[in-house]
Amino acid sequence: MRFTRTLQVAAATALFLAATACGSSGGGGSSATGLNPPDLKAPSKLGKPEGQVNLIAWAGYVEDGSNDPKVDWVSDFEKQTGCQVHSKVAASSDEMVKLMKTGEYDAVSASGDASLRLIASGDAAPVNTDLVPNYKDVFADLKMQPWNSVKGKAYGIPHGRGANLLMYNTQKVKPAPTSWSAVFDGAPAYKGHVTAYDSPIYIADAALYLKATRPELKIKDPYALDQKQFDAAVALLKKQNADVGEYWSDYLKEVSAFKSGDSVIGTTWQVIANLAASEGAKVKAFVPKEGSTGWSDTWMVSAKAKHPTCAYKWLDWIVSPKVNAQVAEYFGEAPANAEACAETSDKNFCAVYHAADTAYWKRVAFWNTPIQQCLDGRTDVKCVPYAKWVQAWTEIKG
């Protein structure tokens, strides 16, 4: 029993390594920056299914029962539509972009930054949402967002989302924190036991905190930082580094660190918090008063898709209530389809993951890729591009 659990965790670890990679990607930029994608047309009607479809996905998004016989939402799709699914698991957004450029794939589950890059380069085509019947049930606050649409044109179907929470050990961290200051200005109190997410995108978490605490920096969007704002965020993280015990990028590592007490406070995902609590760790996770960062993935169709009908069938299938519930529960994220909440095996699932909680998601700044044109619409300054974030992250860790 215990061993099975370990295996599950290992599988989940693999998933979240993948999600880590989403971190190195981000969301889309707003059209205010003048992103001008090639003028591509979405299909107005679908033809006959082509008999197969080639997908690029994060681990855990396209499960046909080969990893776990009980986890299978592909076989029924193949039976119903006659589209044989060939899926390729990508380890990072960059790999997704590279694979999409080959033109051999029909659809991809892109994270924020990959999605924008794919749109900008013309590798992803606009999506006619009328051809995806289940799209109508997708939560309104996931539709037409900066990372899945440009200038009012939809480029994909939302898959699911999650927030980066603040988790703490309820026995060792007293009084209970309410703010991210517990891991920044207040971090020395837990010296050596603070943890943080190991990815350059974590710089945005510091920026989000500075947005609330240092108004003179005038940070509007944590993914659009000019040099001065960026330097302030990096300085804050360098200071935090002295108190960090370890950075986590894999799921298993964080669960074990909170269980043993090696980490007592730091960023987490809902699914990690649930797992740690179920294994006996005394932890709580919440969105602090400053809000938090988060991630949201989108299924997009290739501009060069050879099997567009099957791709559309897949888009509709993956956000259909039952399948969306299955994939959300397996992966540990909030489903995109509102109807999915009635289909989860754990009836409490949507409440725990705040699936329908619009107010909750309003406070989440979803991952975007920082680019030189500021995503917040400023034109008088240049923002620090993601490549520089990567470099700075190395320097922060020292």
Binding site: S24, V97, R117, S121, A257, S260, A387, K388, V390, T394
Partner: protein, 302 residues
Amino acid sequence: MTAAAQTAEAAGRRSTGTVRRLAGMLHRRPRLRLSLLLTAPLLWLAVLYLGSLTVLFVSAFWTTNSFTSEVVKVWSADNFRALLTTPVYRQVILRSIGVALAVTVLCAVIAFPLAFYTARVARPRWRPLLVVAILTPLWASYLVKVYAWRLILSQGGLADWMLRPFGLSGPGFGLPAAVLTLTYLWLPYMILPIHTALEQLPDNLVDASADLGARPGRTFRSVVLPMVLPSVAAGSIFTFSLSLGDYITVQIVGGKTQLIGNLVYSNIELNLPMAAALGTVPVVVVVLYLLAMRRTGALSSL
């Protein structure tokens, strides 16, 4: 039908003739024989091994497009300049070399007495069993062993529990934990060459030293150590190069520590040329180390 059979027979004769002629030619020309025999493995070495090293080195001179992360094949030495001038890279490189040296020294210090016991003190019939015991950890998966160390070193883990009676606590996750775990991982590679060298040490040399009036300490210093030192150096080649390239152990038990491998890993997707430049560092360091060790005669006792 008959015609077909005849043709087939003729073809068979012809092919036997060809084989015989070829065999004769190969017999007369040993050099040709040798070069045919060696072509495949040499191609393997040159193309796959040296070739990939060359590609690594060449791609270190390219750059990337900062938006798409695609490799731009424009020559520039920027990556190497960054490597030498950025403080964080210098720091990480020095740290990695320091870890590799520390692991090597620790392995040598622990392995020597162990090998001395297995090779000279233990009863001869037990020796093979002891060697097997030393090798057993190599049968377990690397990851399992490292995660076991994560449990041992975690708060309230085995290390804490054992040190508590002395009023101490375990090292926790960090650089010391990484050095400790790497030492554990590579120890068998150090014990084996030393064990072999000690086993082959002729007894009569030790006896002669004692007959000439040397005390055990002096015998060890003047007779045993000089003869075993090349094997220690040989073992150190394994421990040093394996530690220098490792990046998984340090991720699991190293806390927030970064080594060269981690930098390569974090650059591999977004900045391949920089990762390549970083990757050449351990290659250069290991080549220098090998050259230094060659002077001790270690390479002939591998």
